[in-house]
C-alpha cells in the first residue's frame, strides 16, 4: 500500500446520509477479477440518472477529497467500493461516521477515512460549495483537516495511523508472528471442523 502522510486537494460535497456500497459501485461491475479499473463505474447509476449529480459538475472535476453524510459505506462488504473511489482519484473521505467494514477496507488500501463531527463536515461542505477550487489539507501526521478559516483535529488510532504513514503490508506484519500462530494452532481442539483437501 502507498503510504499516506499528508494530502492537499479539492473537495466535492456529496450531501447524503447512509450512502451504501451498492450506490458507490453497483453490482454489475463486481464481476471483474482485477483490482483496478473501477473508477469509471463509481456512483454509476447516480451519474447516469441525474445530470446534475455533484460528481459530474465541471467545477468539481479533479476533486480528491469526498465530503459526505453519516454512515457512509453501509451495506455490502465489497472492497470494490473503496477501490472505485481510489481509482477515481480520491485520497480521503470525510464523514460524520462510516460503516465498520467500509472503514476497515479503506484503511487496508490507504484511502483515508476521516471522521469529523457533523457540524464540521457541514462547514466544509459549505466551503466547498462557495469555492469549489478551495484546497483542503488532510494531514495524518498531525491528525488535522484544514482549509481556509477551518482547522479541526480528527481521531485515528495510533496503530492504524502508523500503518498508513508507513504504507505497511499488513499481511507481512502478521506473518512476523508466525510462531505465535503455530503455537496457537497446536492447542486447538482436535474436534474442531476441518475440510481436508479433496
Amino acid at each position: 500500500m502507498e503510504p499516506f502522510r499528508r494530502h492537499q486537494g479539492r473537495m466535492v460535497p456529496l450531501d447524503r446520509a447512509n450512502v451504501d456500497t451498492d450506490q458507490i459501485i453497483p453490482k454489475q461491475f463486481l464481476k471483474r477479477i482485477e483490482r483496478s479499473g473501477f473508477g469509471p463505474f463509481l456512483f454509476y447509476d447516480w451519474r447516469r440518472n441525474d445530470p446534475d449529480f455533484v460528481l459530474e459538475r465541471p467545477e468539481y472535476q479533479g476533486a480528491s477529497v469526498l465530503l459526505t453524510g453519516p454512515n457512509f459505506g453501509c451495506g455490502s462488504s465489497r472492497e470494490h467500493a473503496p477501490w472505485s473511489l481510489q481509482d477515481a482519484g480520491f485520497k480521503a473521505v470525510i464523514a460524520p461516521s462510516f460503516a465498520d467494514i467500509f472503514r476497515t477496507n479503506c484503511l487496508k488500501i490507504g484511502l483515508l477515512p476521516v471522521q469529523l463531527p457533523e457540524s464540521s463536515v457541514r462547514r466544509l461542505m459549505e466551503l466547498a460549495q462557495e469555492d469549489p477550487a478551495l484546497p483542503v489539507t488532510v494531514d495524518l501526521q498531525a491528525r488535522t483537516v484544514s482549509a481556509a478559516g477551518f482547522s479541526e483535529p480528527f481521531a485515528m488510532d495510533d496503530f492504524a495511523r502508523e500503518c498508513l504513514l508507513n504504507g505497511w503490508d499488513d499481511v507481512g506484519l502478521t506473518l512476523r508472528h508466525a510462531d505465535a500462530i503455530s503455537a496457537y494452532e497446536q492447542h486447538r481442539a482436535a474436534w474442531l471442523p476441518r475440510v481436508p483437501t479433496p
Binding site: D22, R32, S77, E79, S97, A99, D158, T174
Partner: protein
C-alpha cells in the same frame, strides 16, 4: 470478571495481543465465494504466499450463478469469475462446492447445513451477511478482499474489540409474526447505523423459542443496522440442529463439544455497553416502504410523511406518496430467496400460504432455494409442486434476485415484494423498487397482487 458470549469467544481466539495494537485473532472457518476472492488470491500469488490452512477454508459459488440452464447459461464475465474460483481452489487445495455440486448454495446457507458453522468459532467471509452464522453462537463477521487475502495467508485477522450490545426480546410472537418481522421491526426502531461498532447478542424468551432458521434470519440482518456481529447463545435447539450434520463432531467428540458449547453463554452479570429491549407482543408483520431496511412499517400502516431530505429522496425513488395505505401498493414481482429467507422452513411457511391458490395474473413470482440441499429437500416433500402449481417459477440455488448479478433482475420501475435483506436503490436491478418482507407475506403478496397482511389469508 463475568464475560459475555462474544468476549469468551474473542478471548479464546487471541493469538497475540499487544498494547496499542489490535488483537490478532485466529479464524476457525473461512468461507469463500467467487465475487470477493479473485483479487485476494491474485494478491497472494503476486506476493509469493500460500494459503496457510486450506483445511479451514471452504468455497462455493452463489453470487452470480445462473438459476436455470446450469453453468452454460452464465455470461462470459460471470463464467470467468467462476473459472477463477475453480482454478484458485484447485491450486490452493481448497474444497469447492461449485455449480453442479449437491452442496452448492448461498455461502451462509451451506455453512450451517454442512455442520461447519458451530458454536464458539470465529468465522469470516468476504460478505457482509456473515453475521448469519452468529445464530449458532459463533463470532462471525464480514470482511473485505484485503482481509480475505490476510486470512488466506495467515489464518488470522487483526481486529479491534467490538463493544457488547444486548437485544432482549421477551414474550410470545403474535400470530402471523415471524423472525423477519422481528428484525425489520427492530431495525426500523434503532435505525440502520444503531449497531455500529458492536457485537450484538440477541436474547430473551422470544429468541429462545425461535428455530435455528429464525435465529439465522435475525442474525443475518445484524449488518442492516450496522452491527459487526450478531449472535445467539447456543442451546438445545442449536445442538439438535447440528447433531448428525456432515461436519458436526461425533461420538466422544460430540460430548466434548457440547460441554464446551454449554460454557459459552454470557454470564448472569456480564456487562453490556447497552441494552435494547423489545416486547414481542408489540410486533406486527412488517414491510419496507423506502430504500433502506430501517424504513419499514407494520403492513397495516400508511406510507409515512418524509421526515427529511433522505426520506423524500427514498419516496421519490420508490414512487410512493405519503399517506398511501401500504396494502394499496400493487406489485409486479415476488422474490422468495436469499440468505435471509430461503431455507427449508422459509419455503414451507410460504408454501403453506400458497397451497391450493394461484399467483395473481399481474405478478411474476420466483422461488430460489438458498442451497441445492434446500432445493432437494423441498422437492422431496413436494414444495416445488405447490409453488409451480400456483404459478411460481422454481429455480436452482443461488443469490439470484437478492442482488441481481445474474440474469434475475428487476426492470426499471418494476416493484418487487422480496424476502431478501436490502432494498437499496437498484439493488435488485437498476431502477427496480424493493419491498422487504417475510416469506409468508411475500406469498400473500404474490396471490393478491399487492402488499397485504398475510393474516387476512390465514
Amino acid at each position: 470478571m463475568a464475560r459475555t458470549l462474544a468476549q469468551k469467544i474473542w478471548d479464546n481466539h487471541v493469538v497475540r495481543s499487544a498494547p496499542g495494537e489490535p488483537d490478532l485473532l485466529f479464524v476457525d472457518l473461512h468461507l469463500v465465494h467467487e465475487v470477493t476472492s479473485p483479487q485476494a488470491f491474485e494478491a497472494l500469488r503476486l506476493a509469493g504466499r500460500r494459503v496457510r490452512r486450506p483445511d479451514l477454508t471452504v468455497a462455493t459459488m452463489d453470487h452470480n450463478t445462473p438459476t436455470r440452464g446450469g453453468r452454460q447459461a452464465a455470461d462470459d464475465v460471470s463464467g470467468k469469475q467462476m473459472d477463477a474460483l475453480e482454478e484458485n481452489c484447485r491450486r490452493a487445495g481448497v474444497r469447492l462446492y461449485g455449480m453442479g455440486s449437491r452442496h452448492q448454495g448461498i455461502v451462509h446457507v451451506i455453512g450451517p447445513e454442512l455442520g461447519l458453522t458451530q458454536p464458539g468459532l470465529v468465522i469470516v467471509c468476504g460478505d457482509s451477511h456473515t453475521s448469519t452464522h452468529g445464530a449458532f453462537g459463533a463470532l462471525a463477521f464480514g470482511i473485505g478482499s484485503s482481509e480475505v487475502e490476510h486470512v488466506l495467508a495467515t489464518q488470522c485477522l487483526p481486529q479491534g474489540r467490538p463493544h457488547d450490545l444486548a437485544v432482549t426480546i421477551e414474550g410470545e410472537l403474535p400470530l402471523g409474526v415471524v423472525a423477519k418481522d422481528v428484525v425489520l421491526g427492530l431495525v426500523s426502531r434503532v435505525g440502520i447505523s444503531g449497531g455500529q461498532g458492536s457485537a450484538v447478542e440477541y436474547r430473551g424468551s422470544t429468541i429462545r423459542a425461535l428455530s435455528m432458521e429464525g435465529r439465522m434470519t435475525i442474525c443475518n440482518m445484524s449488518i442492516e443496522w450496522g452491527a459487526r456481529v450478531g449472535m445467539v447463545a447456543p442451546d438445545d435447539t442449536t445442538f439438535a440442529y447440528l447433531e448428525g450434520r456432515p461436519h458436526a463432531p461425533r461420538g466422544a467428540d460430540w460430548e466434548h463439544a457440547i460441554e464446551a458449547w454449554r460454557g459459552l453463554a454470557s454470564e448472569e452479570n456480564a456487562p453490556f455497553h447497552q441494552e435494547i429491549r423489545l416486547d414481542a407482543a408489540s410486533l406486527e408483520p412488517c414491510v419496507t416502504w423506502g430504500t433502506n431496511p430501517g424504513q419499514a412499517v407494520p403492513v397495516g400502516d400508511r406510507v409515512p410523511e418524509p421526515a427529511d431530505e433522505n426520506q423524500e429522496r427514498a419516496l421519490r425513488y420508490m414512487a410512493l406518496r405519503p399517506g398511501t395505505a401500504m396494502e394499496d401498493i400493487a406489485i409486479d414481482r415476488v422474490f422468495i430467496g436469499s440468505c435471509t429467507n430461503a431455507r427449508l422452513e422459509d419455503l414451507r411457511a410460504a408454501a403453506a400460504v400458497i397451497q391450493g391458490r394461484r399467483v395473481h395474473r399481474s405478478v411474476q413470482a420466483l422461488v430460489v432455494p438458498g442451497s441445492t440441499q434446500v432445493k432437494l429437500a423441498a422437492e422431496a416433500e413436494g414444495l416445488d409442486r405447490v409453488f409451480q402449481d400456483a404459478g411460481f417459477e422454481w429455480r436452482d440455488a443461488g443469490c439470484s434476485m437478492c442482488l441481481g448479478m445474474n440474469p434475475d433482475i428487476l426492470q426499471p420501475g418494476e416493484r418487487c415484494a422480496s424476502t431478501s435483506n436490502r432494498n437499496f436503490e437498484g439493488r435488485q436491478g437498476a431502477g427496480g423498487r424493493t419491498h422487504l418482507l417475510s416469506p409468508p407475506m411475500a406469498a400473500a403478496a404474490a396471490l393478491t397482487g399487492h402488499l397485504v397482511d398475510v393474516r387476512s389469508l390465514l
